[in-house]
Symmetry: C2
């Protein structure tokens, strides 16, 4: 940290993202079932927060929209905390227009059809409730096809199988410029606990021009490399 | 730990729980839907961990079984980390026999009938899945009626309505000696975020002899007072 502070003070490095507004989403969403229960995605927010920090380091005006996480807000980043997918969508839209948007959050695909206002009680002789679910808004697709679409839209795809096929389908359907695909299966071989919650990641960058495979590295390194890629792409994007 | 050990050696305070094994559960449980999604209860583990620490301070041989939380294991307490209700039940049973058991964890009442091995995908034209749920084992009732039932069994009841009626029903049905009932509704008036996740609590002690109402206080104070009550009761319990 001291090294980082000194580096920042002495920093003569170019700030390729100066003047660029970049929206980043991070963490899971929590979808309430009743006042004490919720449905969640596994996501520590580590990768998303690291990307927000890396973009800020390159001079970006970074706006982070984060679901419930237990890590601190990144330094130099304006952070909005939300809980549900609906709140995340609203927060992201309120930040438009932007030069780029990076959707790292593990947004719940579904929420319960009607969250109960009081705690659902166990009733003797009555079985458990069947949770009726409805589809959540697709935040990435919404922004990818938005009238105020940022010049660069990046999505994430966490899959346990058919990683590349799923990422390529997502690329087209969601109007993204590229998809960062990571394998979150137990077989990914990353760390004792895998990608989710861990500090390492192994991603593939899926774009219309093909699939680029990055070696396994720390989430901070993935973030720095992705921030550099975004800065490079933004220089060629007509805004 | 060394400091704690030295403090313990030099400690001249009475240790009314010396030689007593006490099981404490804390935190939520997470019930998997598929590799990336789960159902959870809102619980920070703060109250349960504080109770474990308070019992250890009184000399107890405390065994904490904790669901997924983001707070450190309490000093001087042997802690087992679990994720699901089934794992918590198994961990608790493996710790029997014990002199007392305090069930603070917010255990999920239900889990999904069959957790998917791969991530459930959204399929175009197909609606969201309906989550079929099955009842989880009732850990408190299981221990309350166990052949190796501890001499003192304490349950917690977090309710948003009918607090006392629910606690009294729980007392009888679960074979507990007393129930610590707390109101987790938004109307409880505790802190900006309420009891769940916050640092304060307001509880009622519901036993066969009646209802004792404690004033609002810090979770550490609730823990200290409850530990003293447990020590007092254990002196009169025939083991």
């Amino acid at each position: 940290e001291i090294v980082a502070a000194i580096e920042a003070m002495l920093d003569e490095k170019p700030k390729p993202l100066a003047g660029r507004r970049i929206i980043v989403t991070s963490g899971p969403t929590h979808e309430p079932i009743d006042p004490v229960r919720y449905i969640a995605n596994r996501s520590s927010g580590k990768q998303g927060h690291a990307i927000a920090a890396a973009l800020a380091k390159l001079g970006g005006d970074v706006r982070l929209v984060s679901g419930p996480v237990n890590i601190p807000d990144p330094a130099g980043v304006a952070t909005t905390r939300v809980e549900t997918a609906a709140q995340m969508k609203q927060a992201v839209e309120s930040l438009l227009p932007a030069d780029a948007a990076v959707f790292v959050a593990a947004v719940a695909d579904w929420r319960t059809a009607n969250a109960a206002g009081e705690k659902i009680k166990k009733v003797a002789g009555k079985g458990p409730p069947s949770l009726q679910m409805v589809e959540n808004p697709d935040i990435l697709a919404g922004i990818g096809h938005h009238a105020q679409r940022p010049g660069l839209v990046v999505g994430f795809a966490a899959e346990t199988q058919d990683l590349i096929a799923n990422a390529e389908a997502k690329l087209k359907k969601k109007g993204a410029d590229f998809i960062v695909a990571n394998d979150v299966s137990h077989e990914s071989g990353i760390g004792p606990s895998g990608v989710m919650g861990g500090d390492r990641n192994k991603v593939r960058i899926v774009s219309r021009s093909g699939v680029e495979e990055w070696p396994e590295m720390g989430k901070d390194e993935v973030a720095a490399r992705l921030a550099a890629l975004i800065a490079e792409r933004l220089q060629t994007v007509v805004v």
